[in-house]
Symmetry: C2
Amino acid sequence: MKLEVDYVSGKTRIFGIVGHPIEQVRSPEMFTASFENRKADAILLPFHVLPDDFDRVVPALMLMPNLDGLIFTIPFKQRAMALADVIGPNATIVGAINALARQAGGGWTGEIFDGIGCVEGFRQQGITFAGKRVMLIGAGGAGSAIGVAVAHEGPASIRLFDPDSARATDLMDKIKRVDPAIVVDYAEPDCDGIDILLNASPVGMLDDSRMPISVERFDPKLVVFDAIVKPEMTPLLQLASKSGCTFIQGRQMMYGQISKMTDHFGIPAPH
Amino acid sequence: MKLEVDYVSGKTRIFGIVGHPIEQVRSPEMFTASFENRKADAILLPFHVLPDDFDRVVPALMLMPNLDGLIFTIPFKQRAMALADVIGPNATIVGAINALARQAGGGWTGEIFDGIGCVEGFRQQGITFAGKRVMLIGAGGAGSAIGVAVAHEGPASIRLFDPDSARATDLMDKIKRVDPAIVVDYAEPDCDGIDILLNASPVGMLDDSRMPISVERFDPKLVVFDAIVKPEMTPLLQLASKSGCTFIQGRQMMYGQISKMTDHFGIPAPH
């Protein structure tokens, strides 16, 4: 018979993930671990909000002085942008936020971290995008955020592919808005003259044994990234590994994102 | 480096304690332990709500489908009553609730458990109030809730004392509303012809070495209760112990209350 738990008290700072549906989210267990790792007395809870209640519930949650931040997932990433007083550079271009943080001086800052997490995953492996020639496959939600975040890092060029060419065109415009100096084009997946290959398409997810690009082998100097979290080693990453390439997994992007979002939430990394 | 915690996920059911101030509350650690003991995937968080925001924030929280209950503390116990669709027998008389639970079929049930916790603490020691002659010292918030809950148990008589005679008169009226057959009177603290002595006054709290009643020794057949949680053994309980009386501590009322409120929240005790 336990009389008290040690992970929540009246002093615990509250964070939440807002979504519909909510049961499948993994943020509560992962962000709360990130807070614990940084010695913060804070917890992240699932906040199930129905779409019709969003405008009533979320601004009300933000009135609680001990609630310091919210994560937004499907279907709220676009709508949540209206709640931010200050909008970060990625969210400004993407048109959506996935994190809203109470600022020390009052007000709330919104930013989208999906792409920032990818850049952080690369940075943790000592790889930068500056001056690099990038091929990005997939211009959906994840692909757009990755394209915009990578564009902020000053690559020489970004080649895009998405079967939906309108989506690809839209992302090309966004990249140009970030940095008009980047050479942007639309082409079928290809590795010729490419330094970094990024897959942000769902091809290779779960039991899908397909590759998002038709090649037999990669140049070992190519760096290969896959945004897919399950499986950890997609067919694309298996080929990258076999070819002797440096590769970065979806979970490294995920941990990079958690780290940058925990920073955004005002919980500093321990010294 | 922890990647996940095991005490919260997207499926965790949410409960909260609503108050202002909030940092001093002990419900989060104690109720979450009670939920864990009953093998429920549920957590109770501190929800800091400013008095001016109450009417906007609390009904909004109740719109979240994965929030199953709220506890109310200072200064909201009276105001919270308006949020209940069904009001329990104690709250109806006391005019305040401290717990609001989502009902399986929709709607919310409110009840006040301070007094119910006292009765439960006695029940767990095998002591009932039916037919007993009770002396109750203190007719404030805790005393009123205790008086009303005890009145529901069919005692023969309740003698009341509070230095504020208007408060005492008000509680006498409430007891009569519960059960007109109970003999109720107002008198200085006294143990003559009394079976159960209840202290719900703050006399004896923390470093206060006073007794709420002037006696040298108790009849060993008297049952003595003190609502004070700190210290565990008040001067009153020390004398009860020395006199060979059965005595019940404030923390037994507190655990009785947690148990009954966890039932109210729809989390059944394990078989």
